[in-house]
Symmetry: C2
Subunit: 328 residues, 2 copies
C-alpha cells in the first residue's frame, strides 16, 4: 500500500497539506473541500501511515500494556475493557507478557518504549530499579493497574489485597467462625491477602489461621487436594478463603465428598467472582473486583493524561465487594 497524501492531493487537485487537514480536522475546512479530498482518498484506497504521522507529530496514538500473561482469566475483563475504551477514542493497544521472562522485564520495557507509545500500562509486574528508571526517563504517562501499591511510578488504579484479607477475616468472624484457613495460589497477590487475613484473624482473637499454597495457575483439582490436606491436619477448620473461584469450586466438591455441609460445617469464600460462581451448588460467596470498570476507568484516565490534562488524583482505589451467596 503505497498511496500517499501526495497522490490523494494530486487526485483531488489540492496540496498535500490540505489533504492532511481534511482528514484530521475536517472542521477547519469548507465542507466542499473536505468532500473532494475524501472522495479522492476513498477511490485511491488511501490509508494513512501512522508511523510517519507519529514520527512527525510525536503522537503515536499507541498505548502499551504489560501483563504477566494473557492466558488466565484474571485480568482479561480489565484488559478487554481497556482495549475497547482506548479503541473508542482512537488509540490502539500493544501487549507484552512479562510472565515468561525469557527476556527480562527491563528488556521488554525497552522494546516497548522503542515504539514510542503515548502511555504505558503496567499490571503489577515491573518493579526493578532499572525499569523504573527507564519509565521515568521516557517521560511517558505510566498507569499501574490492579494492585494498590504504596509507591506507584505515577498513576495507579487498583484495589488493596490487604483490605480484602481483612474484610474476609471480618466476615468470617462475624459469622462466628472459629478456625479460619486460606487456600491460595503461590503468587505475590495471594500472599499479600494471606498476610493481612492472618494478622486480622489473630487480632480478632481467633486461633492462627492455617494456609495451603498450590502452584499457579491454581486449578480445581488443587482446591480439592488442598482442602483434604488441611482437614487431615486439622479437622476443626470451619472457614476457607480461596484465592480463586476455581480453587473454591474444588473445595465445594471435596466438601461434598467428605459429607461436610457448606456452609453449616464449612464456610467458603472465593476470589474473582467468575461467571460460574453464582451457579454452583451451593452458590459461591466471592470477592468481586469490577474488572470492566477498572479497565474503562483506566482508558479514560489515560486518554485524559495523553491529551495533556493533569491528573489530580494519582491513585484510585476501585475497591471490591464480597458478594454474599450460599457458601458463606
Amino acid at each position: 500500500l503505497s498511496v500517499t497524501v501526495v497522490d490523494v492531493a494530486r487526485a483531488a487537485g489540492v496540496s498535500a497539506m490540505t489533504v492532511s487537514r481534511a482528514l484530521n480536522k475536517p472542521d477547519s475546512l469548507p465542507p466542499a473541500t473536505v468532500a473532494k479530498v475524501r472522495d479522492a482518498a476513498a477511490s485511491l484506497g488511501y490509508v494513512r501511515n501512522r508511523l510517519a504521522a507519529g514520527l512527525r507529530s510525536s503522537k503515536s496514538h499507541l498505548v502499551a500494556a504489560v501483563v504477566p500473561t494473557l492466558a488466565g482469566p484474571v485480568f482479561m475483563d480489565a484488559i478487554g475493557a481497556l482495549t475497547q475504551g482506548l479503541a473508542d477514542r482512537g488509540y490502539h493497544l500493544m501487549v507484552g507478557q512479562s510472565g515468561y521472562s525469557n527476556k527480562d522485564g527491563d528488556a521488554l520495557l525497552s522494546d516497548i518504549i522503542s515504539r514510542r507509545p503515548d502511555a504505558i500500562v503496567l499490571t503489577g509486574a515491573v518493579r526493578s530499579p532499572i525499569g523504573r528508571q527507564l519509565l521515568k526517563a521516557s517521560g511517558l504517562p505510566v498507569l499501574e493497574i490492579w494492585d494498590l501499591y504504596s509507591d506507584p511510578v505515577d498513576m495507579l488504579i487498583g484495589f488493596s489485597h490487604e483490605a480484602v484479607g481483612v474484610a474476609v477475616a471480618d466476615y468470617f468472624a462475624k459469622d462466628q467462625r472459629k478456625q479460619l484457613c486460606l487456600i491460595g495460589a503461590d503468587d505475590q497477590r495471594s500472599k499479600r491477602r494471606w498476610e493481612a487475613f492472618k494478622r486480622r484473624a489473630v487480632k480478632l482473637g481467633l486461633s492462627p489461621p492455617k494456609a495451603a499454597f498450590v502452584p499457579a495457575p491454581a486449578m480445581l483439582g488443587d482446591g480439592r487436594k488442598a482442602l483434604r490436606t488441611l482437614l487431615d491436619e486439622n479437622g476443626d477448620i470451619d472457614a476457607v478463603f480461596c484465592s480463586s473461584d476455581m480453587l473454591a469450586n474444588g473445595v465445594l466438591i471435596e466438601a461434598r465428598a467428605r459429607k461436610k455441609k457448606v456452609p453449616r460445617d464449612l464456610a467458603v469464600i472465593g476470589f474473582g467472582d467468575l461467571n460460574f460462581a453464582k451457579d454452583l451448588d451451593p452458590s459461591l460467596t466471592s470477592v468481586r473486583v469490577d474488572g470492566p470498570r477498572l479497565g474503562a476507568l483506566a482508558a479514560e484516565t489515560l486518554v485524559r493524561s495523553m491529551q495533556g490534562e493533569t491528573i489530580e488524583t494519582k491513585v484510585v482505589d476501585v475497591g471490591f465487594e464480597i458478594v454474599k451467596r450460599q457458601s458463606a
Copy 2:
C-alpha cells in the same frame, strides 16, 4: 526521550551510520567500535525509535491481531502463545477487538493497516467484501486462525468444526446412545458444529438430535437451564454435546439434581477441555484443541512469511482430540 543516533554518535565519536550499524548488525563491525557505541548509548539512555526505523525500512516488526473479544477463555491460550512466539523473534503484537462492533469491522481493519504492521492475524471475524479488499490491497501476509474455512484470504491455521460435530456424533453412536442433543452458545462456531452433528446422527440412523441454544457468553447456569428444558421436552435424551465445558459443568450439576446418573443415563461431552474438566466429578470428557500449539505454530509461520519465505502449505489443520474421561 529525545536521544537520537546523532547524539550517540557524537558521544561515541563516530558517525550516525556507525551507530545504526553497531546496534543492528554488530557482526559487521570491529568489536571495539561496537563496544564504544554501546557504552555511549547506554550512558545516554538511548532507545531506538521504531517509528522512524519502520518508516524508513518499511518493516515495523509489528503484527496486528483481531479477536472477537479478549475476555473469554476461548482464544486466550492461542493468543498468549502467539504473543510470546512473536516477542521471542523481535515482533510485537497489537490487538483489536471486533466483537464490540461500535466501529464496524472494516473501520477496525483500516485503523490497523494504518500502523503498517508486517502481518495481520484474524480470528474468524472479518469476512466482509470490503474487509477482504482492504486486506488484499494492503499486500500484507494474512493469517486466519482457529476456524477452518474453505476460502481463506491467505494462510489459515485451525481446525474443522464440522469434523468435531461428526466425531462427537460417531462417539455417541459407538457408545450405543440413541437420542442425542446439543447445548450450544448462540454463535457461528457452535452452529457449524451443530449442523454437522445433526446431519451425522441422522445419517447413522439415529433419531434427529435436539438442540438448545443459549446467549453467548455461555455460563454454567445456562447449561443447567438448557438441560432442564430439553429433558422436559424429551425425557429420552441420553447424550449431550455441549459447546463449552462451562455448559457441560452446568449439565453435570443439573443431572445430579435430577438423579440422572452420568454417564449411565446421560453421556456428556464438553468442548474446550478447560483446566477444570478433568477435576469435575464425574470427570468431563471434552473436545480438546491445542491452543498453545496453534499459537506457536502461527507465530512461526508468520515470522517465516514476514522474512520473505514462501509458505507452501497455506492451510494447516491442527485437528482436535476427544479426551475420554468419565462423563462419556
